[in-house]
């Protein structure tokens, strides 16, 4: 075989492999989604939203887990978002390339990829152990620690995209820096910042590991953030690993619900960002 044919062969082989790897990736995505829909759609009905998680061997719903997840997620976003936005503002507007800012950036990237179970252990030693009981608040704090780096990253990136001229124009009109940031820079970057928050919510909606040691679970309806609280991910974990068919069925319903929510939020975030870039 001459050199030319050999080179062409290698090229064809590798490029075919590249197409195949992409197909493999897409095949796994489709497989997971098809399984979820096939198992989940049949299990979803109205009682899921009205009834409590049942004891083994009987039918029931997920109402207590839904309200628990909603409250914990909301609290986590309320705690984490301001911290993330202000810290991101510091990096983009004040710290810039300083040693301190670079350190915060690096630490933030590490928090962004830190194993979420470690955050669960941290909040356990910080809150659950001293207080002596599991609580919804501990769960919210654990999730907030996951929210912060996501919001910080996107806020900083979005603020950096705002042209310096806009800041200078506002400053030239006599606006102090905080006013420039609040009413000019934030206004220009708002779509991107909202995207960051949506992505953070999407990220924590399915997080299970940090909730295992913090909010734990609760078989009953509870809106008391000071006690153990039911939440969807932990219910999925418990029910899916159980030998009871009713429980497994509910786990699939919850799994479909969570995945639909998370993927929906991801797609929403994408479209928000795209609209922002064009505008």
């Amino acid at each position: 075989m001459n050199l030319y044919a050999r080179r062409k062969l290698i090229n064809t082989f590798n490029m075919t492999a590249s197409v195949l790897t992409t197909l493999v990736g897409l095949a796994f995505l489709s497989w997971i989604l098809i399984v979820l829909i096939a198992k989940g759609v049949g299990a979803i009905n109205w009682t899921i939203f009205t009834e409590m998680t049942p004891p083994p061997g009987s039918a029931g719903g997920l109402a207590n887990a839904l309200i628990g997840s909603l409250m914990i997620t909301l609290a986590a976003v309320v705690i984490g978002t301001p911290i993330g936005i202000m810290a991101g503002t510091y990096l983009a507007e004040y710290g810039k390339q300083s040693m301190f800012a670079e350190t915060v950036r690096t630490i933030n990237d590490i928090l962004l990829s830190a194993p979420s179970i470690i955050i669960g252990v941290f909040v356990y030693t910080l809150m659950v152990a001293p207080m002596g009981h599991f609580s919804g608040w501990a769960g919210a704090v654990a999730l907030a620690i996951i929210v912060i780096p996501v919001v910080l990253r996107t806020t900083e990136n979005m603020l950096m995209l705002v042209p310096t001229q806009m800041r200078e124009a506002a400053a030239a009109l006599g606006a102090p820096q905080w006013m420039v940031i609040m009413s000019v820079v934030y206004k220009a970057a708002i779509a991107g910042m909202v995207t960051g928050v949506v992505l953070a919510i999407a990220r924590i909606t399915g997080e299970t590991a940090p909730l295992l040691f913090t909010a734990l679970n609760n078989q009953f309806w509870s809106t008391d953030m000071n006690g153990a609280m039911a939440n969807l991910p932990v219910v999925i974990f418990q029910f899916a690993m159980s030998p009871y068919d009713d429980w497994r069925e509910l786990a699939w319903a919850a799994a479909l619900l969570i995945t639909a929510l998370v993927l929906g939020m991801n797609i929403l975030a994408r479209s928000l960002l795209r609209g922002h870039k064009q505008g």
């Binding site: 062409k8 992409t22 995505l29 202000m86 194993p115 252990v121 999925i236 799994a255």
Partner: protein, 336 residues
């Protein structure tokens, strides 16, 4: 915002408008800047707090067992003797399998998106791959336990055992598990599911760094008659190698710390078998399973394993960050 505006208008009517507004402006600046600075400090304190709590919590375990804790393979709550080795080794082996499979997959996908796909296909394929990253880890766990593992046990495992099993030395890794292995729950299946989970992270970093290669550089190679593969291998890859390594490290960090999916699929055995088809455990899975029921020295030992896990991911992620920063630095250098 409107309240501040009316505030300044009111100031105009007052006796000393300029000095008053100047003062409130200056005060506002100081307050805003220090609030921002404070929250930036919170991020630093978070990491410091995590390290402090983990070290403090694991001290009793290290005092009781010394550094031998890391290499001991005993885990006996009755005798109160604990060692991290089976979980640590399981973590590393599962992550290694994930890398061996995930790396070529993500490389192929990144090449497809940047070099081969027509413009209209780039975005949908890129989005689809990124959606793989958005699927919660617990969903991978359920799918893996109820669908992938049985599928693997029925169709792939017998083939692996028959072809690779008889090989010398290497073959011990592919012996049929003693309990029959019909469930497919094993270190290998956990590694495979992990590889699918880290592909989107590695593929998107690779795609991003491949896209910064200047068009002129690639076109020069094409003009010399290079094939697409030769351009990728001899131009794109050398240009972006630090970035690619950074992306690989990022994926590795994910694979090491992944919890829920592994907890479902790896089988949570307390000892590591010689065959990859045997169940095993990882640090994260061990924590997820035992943490809530543990107390005393067992709890301390679990926290100590958490510390080991955190130290490993910390090092891997720092390396990743360094590599990506080095690529960014050479980029800057080339621009100026």
């Amino acid at each position: 915002m409107s309240s501040t505006r009316t505030g300044t208008l009111d100031d105009l009517k007052s006796v000393a408008p300029i000095s008053r507004s100047k003062l409130s402006f200056a005060l506002g600046d100081v307050v805003f800047k220090f609030t921002a600075l404070f929250f930036a400090l919170v991020v630093l304190m978070l990491l410091a707090g995590i390290i402090y709590m983990l070290v403090q919590g694991s001290l009793p375990a290290f005092q009781a067992f010394g550094l031998g804790f890391i290499t001991s393979d005993e885990w006996d709550p009755v005798k109160e003797v604990y060692g991290a080795w089976p979980s640590l080794a399981g973590t590393l082996v599962a992550a290694l399998i994930a890398m061996l499979i995930g790396l070529p997959l993500s490389f192929g996908i990144a090449i497809f998106i940047t070099e081969m796909a027509p413009q209209w296909l780039k975005r949908p394929v890129g989005t689809a791959v990124e959606l793989l990253a958005a699927i919660p880890s617990i969903i991978y766990g359920m799918w893996g336990l109820f669908f992938f593992a049985p599928f693997f046990a029925a169709y792939i495992q017998p083939g692996l055992v028959a072809t690779l099993g008889p090989l010398p030395i290497f073959g011990t890794l592919f012996q049929m598990p003693t309990l029959g292995g019909s469930s497919g729950v094993s270190v290998l299946t956990a590694g495979i599911v992990l590889s699918i989970m880290i592909v989107p992270f590695m593929a998107s970093v690779m795609r991003d760094v491949f896209e910064i290669v200047p068009g002129a550089l690639k076109e020069s190679a094409y003009a010399m008659g290079a094939t697409t593969w030769e351009v990728v291998w001899n131009v794109v890859l050398p240009f972006t190698k630090t970035g690619v390594v950074g992306g690989i490290m990022l994926g590795l960090g994910r694979a090491i710390g992944e919890t829920m999916a592994v907890t479902f699929i790896i089988g949570n055995a307390s000892q590591l078998g010689s065959s990859l088809l045997e169940p095993g455990t990882t640090i994260a899975a061990k924590l997820a399973n035992e943490f809530n029921e543990a107390d005393g020295l067992q709890m301390d030992s679990l926290i100590a394993m958490g510390l080991i896990l955190f130290v490993i991911t910390f090092i891997v992620l720092m390396l990743s960050k360094l590599m990506l920063m080095r690529l960014a630095a050479t980029q800057e250098g080339k621009k100026t």
